[in-house]
Structures are given as C-alpha cells and as structure tokens.
C-alpha cells in the first residue's frame, strides 16, 4: 500500500482512538468485565489501541522507506 494511503489510515486510526477513549465513545465499553488479560476491559482497550498505534505508525514508516528507496533517495534527510 502506498505511503499516502497509510497516512490516511494513520489519521483515521488516531481519530477513532481519541473518540474511543473520550465521551461518548468510552461509554460504549465502560464496564470492567469481562476482564482482558486480567485487566478491566477499559484499561485493556487503551492498551490495545496503543499497540495498534504502534503497528499503524510502523507500517506507514515502512511504506515511506520503500517509496524513498524506489525514488533513489537515501531516506535520510527527506523532509
């Protein structure tokens, strides 16, 4: 997938993240049970969203690196 598509995904992902942890999104998941990995569900949800953020950013950066390599750049000081 091209970098620009990943960038769009990253934007949407973090907006969904914000909506999910604030009012009113958070009210949809606001019961502690069932526990996930022993933790209350809301706490586990934030942890999962953080891991998702890591994955989305990592994929986006990888796409950028591929495109920079294809374009024959070093990928270093491309700003």
């Amino acid at each position: 997938m091209p970098f620009l598509a990943w960038r769009r995904i990253a934007w949407c992902y973090h907006l969904v993240f914000l909506a999910a942890v604030t009012w009113p999104g958070q009210t949809l998941v606001n019961t502690p049970t069932p526990f996930v990995l022993g933790m209350p569900r809301q706490m586990a949800l934030v942890a999962i969203l953080i891991v998702g953020s890591l994955i989305v950013l990592w994929r986006m950066d990888a796409a950028r690196g591929r495109e920079a390599a294809d374009a024959g750049e070093s990928g270093g000081a491309d700003g």
Binding site: V21, T22, N30, L37, P40, Q42, L49, I50, D78, G79
Partner: protein, 486 residues
Amino acid sequence: MDKFTLITVLVFGYLATTLAVGLVAGRRASKSVQGYVAGDRDFGLLVMYFITGASVFSAFAFLGGPGWAYSRGAAAFYILSYGALGMAPWYAMGPKAAALGRRFGFVTQAQLLTGRFPSRGLSVLMAVLTLISFVPYVTIQMRGAGIVIEAVTDGRIPLAAGAAIAYGIVMAYVLASGVAAVGWTNTFQGVFMLAIAWTLGIYLPYRLYGGIGPMFEQILASRPELLTVPGLDPGGNAWSWGAYSTAILVSAIGFTMLPHLFMKAFTARDDKTIRRTVVLFPTFQLFLIPVFLIGFAGVLFPESPEQPDFILPFLILRTELPALVIGLFCAGALSASMSTGDALLHAGASVVVEDGVQPFRRLSDKGQRTLIRVLVVAVGALAYVLALSDSSSLVDLLLASYGVICQFMPAVLAAMYWRRATTAGVVSGLAAGSAVAVLFFLFPEWKPLGLHEGILGLIVHVPVLLGVSLAGKPQDKQHVSAFVDA
C-alpha cells in the same frame, strides 16, 4: 550491613553512576551554544528514543500514576490514553520543525514562531509561558525525588534533603555538559526504569492477591466505582465526563507542543531518527500499565499512606521485599524524576536566554552559556522552594501546566502550515487564550461542565487567531513559503 545502610549505598552508587555518565557525555560535545543547547544536532535513535521516553517516564508517572489509580481508580486511564495520541502528529511535525531548525538555526520552539512571526513581544510571551509551565513540572520531579528518598529511608532523610541531594547532582551534570548529559543520562536511566516498573508491576499483584486477575476481581467486589470510567475526583465523588475527556485532549495537545520536544527535534541527527522515535514511542506508553497495576494493588491494602502519591514506596516498604529490590526501586524512581527534571531545567533556562534575553541584547556564545547556567540554578531554586511548600497532587500540577502549553498549538500550526496567518493574529490569539486559561485555572468554579481550562482557552484562542489574521494584511509570499513549504 543493615537494610537501611544497604539501600543508602545502592542509591548513592546509582547517583554516582548517573553523575559520571552525565559528565563523560559532555566531553564529546562542542563548546558552542549549538553544542550546549542542541547537542550539535547529532543525537541518534537510541538517545532520541530515551529522551522522548523520559517525558513519559517522569516522577509523575512513577508516583502520580499509581497515586491516581490507588485513590481515583479509572480516572487514571486518562494518563494511559493521551501519550500515543499526542505523539502521533510528530511524525509529520517533527521532521518539518527540524528542517526549519537546520535552515534558520533555531534551537527553541519560540525561535521557530518568531522566525515566521517576527515580534520581540511574542518571543518574550513564549519565554514567560514556557517558564510558567515548566516550573510546576520541575516542582513535580523534585517532590517526587524527595518523596521516594524520604519514604525508603523511613524519614531519616526528609523530603527537603532528598530533593536537594538528587537535584544537586542533576545541576552538576547539566551545568557541566548541557544537553549531551541529558541525552546520555536519560538513556541510562530509561533502561533502568523499564526493568523496575515491569518487575514490580507484575510482582506486587501476585504477592498481595495471587495475580492480576484476582486483584481486579477483589477490587470489583468491594470498590466497583474505581473500575468505571471516569473514576473519582480528589474528594472521592464521581469525576465528570467533561473533565475526563478534556484532560485527555489537553494533555495530548500539550504533549505535542512541549517546548522541550521541539528542542529535542532540533537535536536529532536526521529526519529518519525523528520518525523512528515517533513510531517506537507507544512502546514507552505501555510502561504505564505496570505502574497502574502497582497503584491498584494498594486499593485493598489494610493500611494507607498519608498522601496517595506515596502509595508505591509505601507498598514496597510494607511487603517485606529484600533491601536490594527496595534500593533498586528507589534508584528507578529517582531516574524517573531526574531524567525529566534535567531536561526541563536545561530547556527552561535555554528558552529564557534564547527567547527572553537574546532578542533584546545579543550575547556572545560564552555569555549565553554562562547565563543559561545561572538560570538553571535559578529555576531549580524556585522549583525547590515550591516543591517544599506545595501539597497538591503531582498529576494536578502536571495538568495545570499542560493547560498553558496547549495554547502553543494554534500558533505553531499556523507558523508551519497556514499561509494567511499574521503576527498580530498569533500574538492576540496566544494572549487571549492564555488569559482565559489562567482565569479558569484561578476560578475553577466557573468552568462549564468541568471542562479543562486549556480547552476553554483554545475555544477563545482559535477564533481570535483566525479573525485577527484574516482582518490584517497577509505576510510576504516568499517569507511564508520558506516556512509552509519547508
């Protein structure tokens, strides 16, 4: 060797190592202001990662985080939520800020702003606001260091002396080595803290409840209100959704705008380093999970500390851990405090000199370095006085400082992305937004729906910035293009 002596030896051994790392690091950096403030723009991924991580791994997270989980339950989840949100925009903003820094020689956030919007008033306003937001932040770190030392030595070294010892050492290496010391000590301290936090976060629930799941089951059975968002307010009543949601929003925005984060972008070797740091940042955020587990482990503990912020050292001392573990924990918590405190002291003093003094009176390179050093001591002394007198919670102090910092967002975005922004618009927006934020901070009873004063400030700030800018004459096209198209 008795327990107290062993702990003291461990802690002082650790402090001596930190001092050595800080002093050695400084010998590699050049003697220029670029070397002292921006590390010759040569920080690689490892150091950048831990420098950024140190902004999460502060005394606030190590002591305030468990304190909140312990006393206010799910309210603490806001702390877990905002970091990843605040960091993500840096993937785009960081390399752009760094490119502008390289082109124009900026070493502070305010220089970036006044580069686009030339105004000495703006420069001073930024310096003052940065200082207003940093002092409580440094205060938090000093109190944290004092709390830890007082608790683990069972009061034999009081808070005042503990904070003085830890920050005496911080001063020594910051004064000698500048930002190079901050980078390398943060790396050393970061590794230390990660290990300690995860070990204790998993160990304490097992020791006290037989596991993480059983711990939360017992809390759910006896204190269910602690496990439902938005948790409790300081008085033990239900916290409002408005306050919880805007705490996340303000902290995320404030985090993105942290003046020292900009200064660190100017220290990076290249853009790839900045991007990789942003990508890896969420791994640091996850460290808050074991920290919260420690706080929750205290909920059903039969005794309680005098202040919630003491819960972590309190638990550790009452669960009959070996002295070695207590000593290491103490060093880990001191790392958390010092690694954030040193960066802030250095950044705060640099900002005052570069943005508050330089626009009015040009100083030589040597003069700047000397003045930064004097101010490191002055800011440190001020924070120390506040740390001894202040009794509010660590997290409340942090939230208050984010309220001011988040007012930088519209101005910084306008400088980097909005062609039509004008100096008058940015200055009036910043002044109006900050005034509103300070007003609601001083009179919290006026806040509608419990919304954070930082958000209320932004609600006034953004329209003023847009309105005044659009009403005025646009800036020169070439000048604007140098910033927006960078």
